[in-house]
């Protein structure tokens, strides 16, 4: 029997002008490390990190379910709305959660859409963070599939969303971790994965021309990308990194789009040197 050191609580706050109830979990102590989950998923993606004794000795690992995701509720009135995430709302959400939890210059680490918003945070709010880590970060995305069927009465949205992302993981990632990752997608609320991708593929979905504004002297920026990801491929992250002076970019062999969830043990071997460097810099 193992009782995990992960603690979950609910945070009630005014977010984007509306009352929200967000699920937040954390483990460890020390430098706050705020982790952002991928589109259509939730904080469980960071279960491996929160259970890593070495990591949580020096870092307070925190993650929240975005509104409409996981155990966070949608705002009252959701039944007559179509959920669509925007870059501005996502940015404000991260900053307001940092304020609500009184996190002082946390490290922020996001994956996929969280990796995209990491770039936006580096661009617009660098001084709020000790360091920024983007996993599977790209400045734009190749729309290689149709979104219609992710939310349609004739298709099970959870199974379809999970199946759409299933190939993004590395073939050698442990089967149990891969299917755990997919289960989170199967449990997503109707239309939520699609609504997240609005931010990713919609009107503000191409930030290539703005990347030059990132000042890595104000806040170090690390970009790590799994080699099997074809949604944000290593080439896609490299193209973004080439526009950012001082960024540290590396490819993670034998990982895919969900490094922290599909193979936490392997991902930690890539993350630990980055965190060690951040800790040393202070």
């Amino acid at each position: 029997m193992i009782l995990e050191p992960v603690i979950g609580r609910y945070l009630r706050l005014e977010l984007l002008g509306r009352a929200h109830r967000l699920y937040v979990e954390e483990a460890g102590q020390g430098i706050p490390l705020l982790c952002l989950h991928t589109a259509g998923s939730d904080t469980r993606q960071y279960r491996g990190l929160m259970n890593d004794a070495q990591l949580t000795r020096d870092f307070r690992v925190i993650a929240f379910d975005m509104p409409w995701h996981g155990k966070s509720s949608p705002p009252a009135g959701w039944q007559s709305e179509t959920y669509r995430l925007t870059s501005a709302d996502y940015t404000r959400m991260v900053l307001e959660v940092c304020d609500a939890l009184a996190l002082e210059r946390p490290v922020v680490m996001g994956c996929s859409i969280g990796g995209r918003i990491a770039l936006v945070l580096a661009m617009e709010h660098a001084r709020r963070f000790r360091a920024i880590i983007g996993l599977q970060s790209g400045a734009t995305i190749d729309p290689y599939y149709e979104l219609t069927w992710l939310h349609h009465p004739q298709v099970h949205g959870g199974e379809a969303s999970a199946a759409y992302v299933s190939g993004l993981m590395a073939p050698a990632s442990p089967e149990a971790e891969r299917w755990e990752t997919l289960w989170h997608y199967m449990q997503g609320g109707p239309g939520i994965f699609k609504g997240d991708l609005h931010f990713y593929r919609g009107a503000d979905g191409d930030i290539r021309e703005r990347l030059g504004a990132i000042d890595t002297r104000a806040c170090p920026l690390y970009l790590l990308t799994g080699e099997y990801d074809y949604s944000v491929s290593p080439e896609d992250t490299r193209a973004a990194a080439e526009r950012i002076a001082g960024v540290k970019f590396s490819v993670m062999p034998r990982l895919g789009h969900f490094p922290m969830s599909e193979n936490p043990a392997l991902f930690l071997t890539y993350l630990e040197p980055v965190l060690a460097e951040i800790k040393t810099r202070g």
Partner: protein
């Protein structure tokens, strides 16, 4: 001229699919006429109530199909490797890099995508090990 052989061992598909737990889990009530091609030869895979009932090698004469997946032999060959290289390891990876043509009833494909991905992944394992 020697014609290239279809890289996918489709003639073994019916045996490989029989009794597969994942196909049973994700293939509930699936009826589909699936065409699989490599640019040279087309094969027709007929699925009834989630089971592969017949696999027919072309040439096919005006087949009625629900879904058509065609990729070059070279792409299928890489897809079949035990640990395929990035970009060849999944039907959608092939799609991202425009190595596969996916046509037909995309609603049906989306509803049963786990089934179709599993069907093709079954072709990867050496048949002796199954």
């Amino acid at each position: 001229m020697v014609r290239a052989t279809m890289a996918l061992p489709l003639e073994t598909l019916k045996d490989r699919a029989a009794g597969d737990a994942l196909l049973a889990r994700f293939g509930l009530d699936l009826d589909c006429a699936l065409l699989v091609g490599d640019g040279e030869t087309d094969w027709l895979v007929e699925i009834g109530r989630g089971e592969v009932v017949r696999v027919t090698k072309g040439p096919l004469i005006m087949p009625k199909t629900d879904l058509r997946l065609r990729a070059a032999s070279e792409a299928w060959a890489r897809f079949l490797q035990p640990v395929p290289p990035p970009g060849y390891h999944d039907l959608f990876a092939l799609r991202r890099y425009r190595r596969i043509q996916i046509e037909g009833d995309i609603r049906l494909m989306s509803a049963y995508l786990f089934y179709f991905k599993r069907l093709f992944a079954l072709l990867r394992a050496p048949s002796a090990s199954r």
